[in-house]
């Protein structure tokens, strides 16, 4: 059953310092309230995957891999490829991660990343149909959290997007309902580039891109995912705190502006 975990004693001791700093308009790592941590994205780090990307967001490190293989379509979308996002909180990433089946946090992370890609229609899934109702391509996006220093959602969304942009497959033609692969290598049919921006609320102050220390003391967070047309395609509030409607509207408009910058940065890095 879903339950809140207790904060570690160390985090509770640090709590006051972090909150005090934010109350004074400062942050533990000397950033401004609306500053994003330095971001690097490396593509094609795992050759055996169809696509992969490793993202550094400050000290947070996330790796995403894309695998593409044929499979059976869902009954309600017989002519569309299938997108699956899964997230793994690898035990080496944080003292609080444990091996075993995914817990609610990794499920939430995967589902928020999935929603961003799916709802922005980032991939033209219709182009991944082999034979309607029988065979389509399935795209597996697996997100591996390697080092947890806060804001995993944004880092994971960036890594997933990078891996999808990086993904390559053989061009194919269909013969008797089976794909026949050609020499030519093609990218995935991408049509949108969703970017997530997470804001945390600490002691009534909102800060962008919380690091782990800030996440531990935040009352809540709000993730806003936007597509290239600046439309909002997914949102998720997390944590035990509350947000007023005005705070939410404020966060949404900052997120839209920030996402634009970040998207330009990612795409320039990728191409």
């Amino acid at each position: 059953m879903s339950a809140t975990h207790q904060l570690s004693p160390v985090a509770r001791l640090e709590q006051k310092t972090v909150v005090d700093l934010i109350g004074k308009g400062k942050r533990v790592d000397d950033r401004g309230q609306l500053d994003y941590r330095p971001t690097t994205i490396m593509l094609g780090v795992v050759e055996k995957a169809n696509g992969s990307a490793q993202v550094y967001l400050g000290k947070t490190k996330v790796l995403a891999g894309v695998k593409i293989q044929p499979g059976t379509p869902f009954a309600d979308t017989p002519d569309e490829g299938i997108l699956t996002v899964n997230a793994e909180f690898v035990p080496l990433a944080s003292p609080t991660f444990e091996a075993g089946p995914p817990d609610e946090n990794s499920i939430e992370l995967a589902r928020v990343v999935d929603r961003g890609i799916r709802e922005s229609k980032a991939i033209d899934l219709k182009k991944l149909c082999i034979e309607p109702g029988k065979k389509v391509f399935m795209i597996f996006v697996d997100v591996y959290v390697l080092d947890h220093d806060g804001n995993l959602i944004d880092a994971a969304a960036m890594a997933a997007l990078g891996a999808l942009v990086n993904a390559k497959m053989h061009a194919f033609r269909v013969e008797n309902g089976e794909p026949v692969y050609l020499e030519e290598i093609i990218p995935l049919p991408m049509q949108n580039y969703p970017v997530s921006i997470t804001t945390a609320k600490v002691d009534n102050v909102t800060v962008l891109d919380p690091c782990l220390e800030e996440e531990q003391v935040m009352s809540c967070r709000l993730t806003v995912t936007t597509g290239k047309d600046d439309n909002i395609c997914a949102m998720q509030k997390g944590g035990l705190g509350f947000l007023s409607p005005d705070e939410i509207k404020q966060i949404v408009s900052t997120s839209i502006t920030k996402a634009k910058d970040l998207r330009a940065k990612i795409l320039s890095n990728v191409k």
């Binding site: 059953m1 879903s2 947000l243 939410i248």
Partner: protein
């Protein structure tokens, strides 16, 4: 809406919201089990959102899906801060939400029901929590999509509100909305939450009005005897 639907639960409620039929039960505060989950400074609040296999068009496997696990988490995060859990250290408060029939917006109706069940269990709360979703269909922002509308709709925005303090505890969104459409949808759903909140209060008042009358009657007979 109905409270005290179940006999064994400490608090329970049944809510019909459109064709959604939702049953919520609260057990607790009770002894934490297993013991190591207990917290020294407050009660552990646990939540389970679950859909009955027959609640949907196609049978749903009774095993908890990833969706149900995520919803259990976001529902708990909307309800837990309303509960004064610091009054009950070393205990647990368990919230169970069963969706008997689903017609889109089950997480919101689930929250509405669970808040009623918590109040019915006599657990001190800062405020009731009410939930309602807004969405977009045919390019228009509308309130509370139904099942069919949700499948064709362009966006869904579930919201849970604590109406008196005007703060939002649950907010999710999928689909596609411009910033202005989003603002419109958010205002629409918070207004609806306020209306649902009034209904919740009325439901509780109805039940406890009866309870009070009975108690008064008992007292009178006692005095006579």
């Amino acid at each position: 809406m109905e409270v005290g639907t179940l006999d064994k639960a400490d608090g329970s409620a049944y809510v019909e919201h459109g064709r959604n039929k939702i049953l919520a039960a609260v057990y607790g505060p009770r002894e934490a089990h297993p013991k190591h989950i207990a917290l020294a400074d407050r009660a552990v609040v646990r939540c389970r959102y679950h859909m009955a296999p027959f609640s949907t068009d196609e049978r749903k496997s009774p095993a908890p899906s990833r969706r149900e696990l995520e919803l259990s988490k976001v529902i708990r995060e909307a309800l837990e801060p309303a509960i004064m859990s610091e009054y009950y250290p070393r205990s647990t408060i368990d919230i169970f939400i069963e969706v008997l029939q689903a017609d889109a917006g089950t997480r919101c109706a689930g929250i509405t029901a669970a808040a009623l069940a918590l109040a019915d269990a006599g657990i001190p709360m800062r405020e009731l929590v009410a939930g309602c979703a807004a969405g977009k269909i045919d390019g228009k922002v509308v309130l509370d999509l139904s099942d069919v509308e949700d499948k064709q709709g362009e966006a869904d925005l579930p919201v849970a509100l604590m109406p008196k303090s005007n703060v939002i505890g649950l907010l999710q969104m999928d689909g596609s909305l411009t910033e202005d459409e989003f603002k419109q949808a958010l205002d629409m759903s918070t207004d609806a939450c306020r209306r649902i909140y009034e209904m919740q209060r009325e439901t509780l008042r109805q039940k406890y009005h009866v309870v009070r009358d009975e108690a008064e009657k008992d007292e009178e007979t006692e005095v006579k005897a």
